[in-house]
Symmetry: C2
Subunit: 315 residues, 2 copies
Amino acid sequence: MGLIDAMLAGDRRALARTISIVEHGGTDAQLALGKLYRYTGQAHVVGVTGPPGAGKSTLVNELALELRRRSATVAIIAVDPTSPFTGGAILGDRIRMQPLGHDPHIFVRSMATRGQLGGVARATSDVVNVLDAASFSTIIIETVGAGQAEVEIARQAHTTVVVEVPGQGDDVQAIKAGILEIADIFVVNKADREEAGKTQRQLQTMLQLGHTHDPQWSPPILSTVATSGKGVPEVVDALARHRRWLSESGKLDTRERERVRRELFQLVEYLISEQIDQRVPAADQTALLDRIRAHRIDPYSAAKELIQRALDGTS
Amino acid sequence: MGLIDAMLAGDRRALARTISIVEHGGTDAQLALGKLYRYTGQAHVVGVTGPPGAGKSTLVNELALELRRRSATVAIIAVDPTSPFTGGAILGDRIRMQPLGHDPHIFVRSMATRGQLGGVARATSDVVNVLDAASFSTIIIETVGAGQAEVEIARQAHTTVVVEVPGQGDDVQAIKAGILEIADIFVVNKADREEAGKTQRQLQTMLQLGHTHDPQWSPPILSTVATSGKGVPEVVDALARHRRWLSESGKLDTRERERVRRELFQLVEYLISEQIDQRVPAADQTALLDRIRAHRIDPYSAAKELIQRALDGTS
């Protein structure tokens, strides 16, 4: 497949096309990923998450520019798995930020999808592999929205940055969304706001009380004003520090092991449901569902029947 | 199995034990569900969700008491899939509310679990089936926490009540959590607070702007003061009205069809991963993961290998 070779050689159009193929799924995606997988494993994968309006997109752009100054090459994946209400936010912000577009060593890709949570996570993981094979040294996954989606997607990152913003009412958002536990680095953005100190102190208290990601790594709480770039070099320093800690402590190995395991089992599920759709005609699936609804078969027995039929002739 | 017969005959201890078996999973759970499934399909399943501190537990208890006055029998499942920070909330509230415990036609079960999101949803669904077979006419699933978990669990309900509370800052929580779309009924609880009118208006505006669950059902926005019982009969009226609408419009059929399909495919995934754990020794799984991490095999090919091995000798 010339496409993968072209992509590996640095052809940006080939890269964009490979990503589209991979996002689309199916046999072509699996072939492409099979070919490029051996070239992955070099990039530092960074997750950036936080509530809508925290200024994540601006921060991510500033991080990309600072990383470029330090000779990194940067790919940004902006994922938006939330409801139509917050839908356009990332894309809208991104459009305003043209400067990045002119640097050939920064690549930006938006993934706006309303599909299943699992679908977004799987596609994100596949796209990370493509970008990793294409030799980007840092890959930033930016997500917006509610709870579980962030957790799923952040788990794919080596380093997760949780962005908070002052003055969102009584509680910082991390408590509600349950994302405190996934943070390796906290950033209080819009730190020129009056309540910034209060937000910092709340985070500090929460960290003292709470379960953090890893007892051996104490997440720093940094301040930025992303619109002016203030504090951004310190965040990039912290990213590098965390990555170094991951390697030296052996945690990189542990986390990679966990990540690969999770990915493997997700793919098993994905492939099975693909096989069911290929081998069991839709009419037969419907008939089985009707039998469950008529209470003539229970769901567990029906699931076993479906697996049996999907795999007949495979082994 | 005498246990299931005892449970079907109304024995509460047999019911509690059946639920424990089902929660625990495995072959016993599957046998139990296979036996009792034919008795399900009668209950009205109601989901009640909303942010922490909205007074959901109090409201659910008042709903249960009002339903009892109308001769319904009520089972309550309190699910708490969130982080340890909000962890104890439901259970703590529940303990304070002893009155329910003396009525043999009200059954309360808490499910506090920190497991996988999918695991909670599956267990909840199985427990609903047990309670349905045990002839409870209304089953209330109460959830607390962030976004995706509610959506997953609410999908199992026929009627979903989203509880909001006045004075939570600029936005009502439903926008952030993306749960606007799943609401069949809105309840503004603590409606004696000053900002209640504002919350009502915000919800109204959101409904006018937004995508609702179903274009043919316009979710009512009701007010309650759960601590005094005010407004509770109107919520029960709305539950009955929604259920009637579901039947008469044919939506009950459509939703049941969707629910059963989702459940079937979740069980397929569950059974496959169970089979992998049984047939592929842990050492072999680790060896496969090591090969992926060494980039000697790509994850898709590895997943195919795992499926093959798990199913060898099955068909």
